[in-house]
């Protein structure tokens, strides 16, 4: 294939992703109408829900097909399944969440599932689009059929666990009494609020990246790093170019500004990243984290100023009239379905592949360890639920914590802890 052909395929594929993204948003709205609209509908509530639920499902499937086309075209252009960097993996993970939702929907026929699963998928896909979308050939270790099996099944398993989280969070929003002032009541409120704040921060961060990308913001630094050759025990200096797409509050440690567009009158970075932050692009990552937290706090603060009460308390009335038993059931079933798929994809297939590629099936690489941690967590969840009767609220809290662990395993490990699975990141 010529370069032009590949480029045009990639362009076409991104259009399908854009379409899918928009369609997911529409399907979210339709599920909203299905669930919330039955209160205003003059017709029988049951038939209203069934009708709009079916429309929502069809729209969702259209979106899924469109994203399927994105994946297929990119696959052709790439020459391998597009799951090899964070951009590709996260959009794929978003697609798997939609797929898991469709499966759960077919079993339970509860449109309210769409009310939380679709926005989750939308946020994950958008978050994926934050990362560089360059196409790169696979390094030899990754050229294996197991890449397809391991990554796609792991993502599908995690997608079901993510649905478990979304239903669990809704359960909490539905059942927690936000007026309760007792000690445990305050803790619960705080827990929900922290979760809501994290979601707000993630969404603002995504918006931020797209705004600065839209205006073409760019800054560049020349960083000097002292490296040590272990064999000869000599130190030598390496110069790296570090590029920023967000205005630098922190510049890389020991670096000079090559180019920096002024931002709000800011012509030079305010601070320098401390030297004890190790790893590739530590300065840029610190800058990104500071930006996200700062803007997240500002946006969250503004929302609080406008609505004058906690976010959880503001959102919870939407859940009125929803059967919390259904939410608990869906959350548990999604996790029960996801657990064996996750085990097969993220642990068993992963080990088989590691044995082939590196000659060892398990080496406690950070990513492997975090997959094990996720597995241990959901194992504890199942024991607590099935043997110790942790249902309803306790189980819902666990599903929220579990998703946090999954997200850290998928993204945090890559960005924070380097290992065999580290990719480039923002």
């Amino acid at each position: 294939m010529s370069l032009e052909q590949i480029q045009s395929l990639l362009d076409l594929s991104s259009k399908f992703l854009m379409v899918a993204f928009l369609v997911y948003n529409v399907s979210f709205i339709v599920f909203g109408i299905a669930v919330l609209g039955k209160r205003w509908s003059k017709r029988d509530a049951k038939s209203h829900e069934r009708r709009w639920g079916t429309i929502g499902l069809i729209i969702t499937i259209v979106g899924l097909l469109s994203q399927g086309a994105f994946t297929g075209l990119r696959w052709v252009a790439n020459g391998h399944i597009p799951v090899s960097n964070l951009y590709e993996f996260l959009t794929f993970f978003g697609m798997m969440i939609v797929l898991a939702f469709v499966v759960i929907y077919v079993i339970y026929r509860k449109p309210l599932t769409g009310l939380f699963a679709m926005p989750l998928a939308v946020v994950i896909v958008a978050y994926g689009a934050v990362f560089p979308s360059d196409v790169k050939p696979l390094i030899p270790q990754l050229q294996s059929i197991w890449l397809y099996l391991h990554v796609s099944l792991a993502a599908l398993g995690e997608a079901f666990l993510a649905i478990g989280f979304a239903a669990g969070l809704m359960y909490l929003l539905r059942t927690i009494n936000f007026k309760e002032r007792s000690r445990s009541g305050r803790w619960k409120n705080l827990g929900v609020e922290v979760t809501m704040f994290s979601l707000v921060t993630l969404i603002t961060f995504i918006a931020l990246v797209f705004i600065f990308r839209g205006v073409g913001y760019h800054a560049e630094f020349l960083q000097k790093v002292v490296e040590k050759d272990i064999k000869t025990n000599t130190e030598f200096e390496v110069e790296n170019i570090v590029e920023y797409t967000l205005p630098p509050i922190f510049k890389p440690h020991n670096s000079e500004t090559v180019e920096m567009k002024p931002f709000l009158g800011l012509k030079e970075p305010l601070f320098e990243a401390p030297s004890w932050l190790k790893g590739v692009n530590a300065g840029r990552k610190l800058n990104t984290i500071v930006w996200s937290l700062a803007v997240g706090l500002i946006v969250y603060g503004l929302i609080r100023l406008i609505i004058r009460r906690p976010l959880g308390a503001a959102v919870s009335p939407i859940m009125n009239g929803i059967d919390e038993q259904d939410l608990d059931e869906i959350s548990y079933r999604a996790i029960a379905i996801g657990y064996p798929i996750f085990t097969l994809g993220a642990l068993i297939f992963a080990s088989i592949w590691a044995q082939q590629a590196w000659g060892r099936f398990w080496a406690f690489d950070p990513k492997e360890t975090w997959a094990l941690i996720t597995w241990l967590f959901y194992t504890a969840y199942l024991h607590l639920r099935l043997s110790r009767g942790w249902q309803g609220e306790k189980s819902a809290w666990l599903s929220v914590i579990g998703f946090l662990i999954i997200m850290f395993t998928l993204i945090g490990v890559n960005l924070v802890i380097a290992g065999l699975h580290s990719y480039a990141g923002v």
């Binding site: 370069l3 990639l10 059931e329 379905i337 406690f364």
Partner: protein, 537 residues
């Protein structure tokens, strides 16, 4: 305190029994008087861990038989594992002196991390103890429950006490005019939904998917096999891992095995990516290898070993060479030019070629015959340097080889030469007569460009590990995706009681029972079957 465990139906139950093994009536008074749904876990059977007057062994058993303890063990392992990912572990740091490395790289935190033993979390004795405790918990939890559960389920009676039925979470009460005729229809309806039936007069038990109850125990067995298989690494010959470094053109022994491996050629393909601007990407790297078995002179340093080719394979990532349980993996490589073999051509004073002198630079022969001369190699400096005016070798790597040749001519005259081919230098150290001299000219050389790093492994436990993992998965799947459902029917005169139980998915059970009852002519809907109103799972 001694509990009377004899039930009113006349059955004598073991101590610790919750529900009568025969009729299902609660044994303990307080449970009998409660109006809560019956605790159906393990069918209310007595477990070993509920023995009265426990001795020490019983206490250990009781400790490990607790699910609560199991969950604590899982959570502790989880938290400890998180600590183990904070900093790189000792097996991956590029240093042979971990304490110094952690202190230098991560300051006081690194020092503390190393002192606490977290720098080798997964190889530490306490991590191993945690895993062993989990294994003990897996075995004991399973045995403690599966045996009484198996006994209880295989001894089931169709006829249950009214109290047992009324306190099930799914219940229908009504009346039928003709009991036999209705039971006939009920049996048919249950059969069509794949229930297996036991009939006892006017009592009926329908049961399906009992195997799903074994799911948890099967998956625990899988995990025990997996953990057990890891222990077999201690068996001699079951586990081996070592690195073999082999230059292009070289054949090296694999220590501890009868095998030799040869690197015929190493290939690295780097290309400019088809769709990335100007960057070079590595597409492949591979070693064209031959595996030999040594058949003679194997451990004799004075003799060349006799090798017999057993397998040829191009080793690349994801495609190891595999032979008789040994696997050779391509893990790394290094590019450096290194002379392997050279040919010196001898000429006499009249510039007439006498013959060739082929020299293996890594392992040169000591004696050669060229034309009618005998040449002895009496000095070899692979990497020539001079120490106080005396020739010496910096290393064993033939970067700049130098030779001292003792030449014996056919007529018995001898002479001696010092030759440094790369420097085009030669000098006659001693000689008899006025022979004009020989010249040694470098005419051919083989160079190794790449050093290939191979990992050699034996892992006999692999099959068992994989089997354990698959058994685990099978157990999880049958335990999670199927449910054990039972429906009890009891008719006394015209009074009908139908109760049902499942180990999960009550919603599905109610739907199914409603359909079955509708088929027998009893009109009911799924929600009204919910006996306690809050029983979904």
């Amino acid at each position: 305190m001694l509990n009377n465990t004899k039930c009113e139906c006349g059955h004598q139950n073991p101590v610790g029994t919750v529900l009568c093994e025969a009729c299902g009536l609660p044994v303990q008074q307080e449970m009998l008087e409660s109006d809560q749904p019956l605790e159906m876990r393990y069918e209310g059977a007595a477990r070993r861990s509920q023995k009265s007057n426990p001795n020490i062994l019983d206490r250990v058993w009781n400790f490990f038989s607790s699910v609560k303890v199991a969950v604590y063990l899982i959570i502790i392992t989880l938290i400890v594992s998180i600590f183990g990912t904070i900093l790189p572990q000792e097996n991956v740091i590029p240093s042979l002196d971990p304490p110094a490395y952690y202190a230098e790289q991560y300051g006081w935190f690194g020092e503390l991390y190393h002192k606490l033993g977290l720098s080798d979390t997964f190889g530490s004795w306490w991590y191993k103890i945690l895993v062993l405790m989990i294994a003990a918990s897996l075995i004991i939890c399973s045995l403690d429950r599966v045996i009484p559960l198996y006994k209880a389920l295989s001894r089931q009676q169709a006829k249950k006490h009214e109290t047992f039925l009324r306190r099930q979470k799914v219940l229908y009460e009504g009346s039928v005019s003709n009991a036999d005729e209705w039971l006939e229809r009920m049996e048919q309806a249950l059969r069509s939904r794949h229930y297996r039936l036991t009939r006892d007069g006017h009592a009926l038990l329908g049961e399906k998917h009992r195997f799903s109850r074994w799911g948890p125990y099967i998956n625990h067995v899988g995990l025990i096999i997996l953990l057990g298989a890891l222990l077999t690494r201690g068996i001699p010959g079951w586990y081996m891992a070592q690195n073999v470094v082999v230059n292009e053109g070289e054949t090296v022994p694999v220590p501890g095995t009868p095998y030799y491996i040869q690197n015929i050629q190493f290939t690295e393909i780097k290309e400019i990516g088809p769709h990335v601007s100007g960057q070079q990407f590595q597409f492949a790297f591979e070693t064209e290898a031959v595996l030999y078995r040594c058949v003679d002179n194997c451990n004799n340093p004075l003799q060349k070993p006799v090798l017999e080719e057993v397998k040829r394979h191009t080793i690349k990532p994801n495609e190891p060479l595999e032979y008789e349980g040994y696997s050779f993996y391509q893990i790394d490589y290094n590019f450096n030019l290194r002379p392997m073999h050279m040919t010196l051509t001898l000429q006499n004073a009249n510039e007439e070629t006498i013959g060739d002198l082929p020299i293996d630079l890594n392992n040169p022969e000591t004696s050669y015959a060229v034309g009618d001369m005998r040449i002895e190699l009496t000095g070899y400096y692979a990497d020539l340097t001079s120490e106080n005016g005396v020739p010496a070798s910096k290393s064993r790597v033939p970067n700049n080889p130098a030779f001292i040749f003792d030449v014996t001519h056919a007529d018995g005259t001898t002479e001696s030469y010092f030759v440094v081919p790369f420097e085009q230098f030669q000098t006659r150290l001693k000689g008899t007569g006025d022979v004009a001299g020989l010249s040694f000219e470098l005419t051919d050389m083989e160079v190794s460009r790449y050093t290939s790093y191979l990992l050699v492994r034996v892992e006999k436990a692999l099959t068992f590990i994989l089997a354990g993992a698959l058994i685990f998965l099978f157990g999880v799947v049958i335990g999670v995706y199927w449910q054990h459902r039972r429906i009890w029917v009891r008719i006394d005169g015209e009074r009908l009681i139908v109760a049902a139980h499942t180990n999960k998915n009550w919603f599905g059970l109610r739907q199914e029972l409603a359909k079955i009852l509708t088929k027998t002519g009893v009109e009911t809907d799924a929600n009204s079957l919910d006996n306690y109103g809050v029983t979904k799972q």
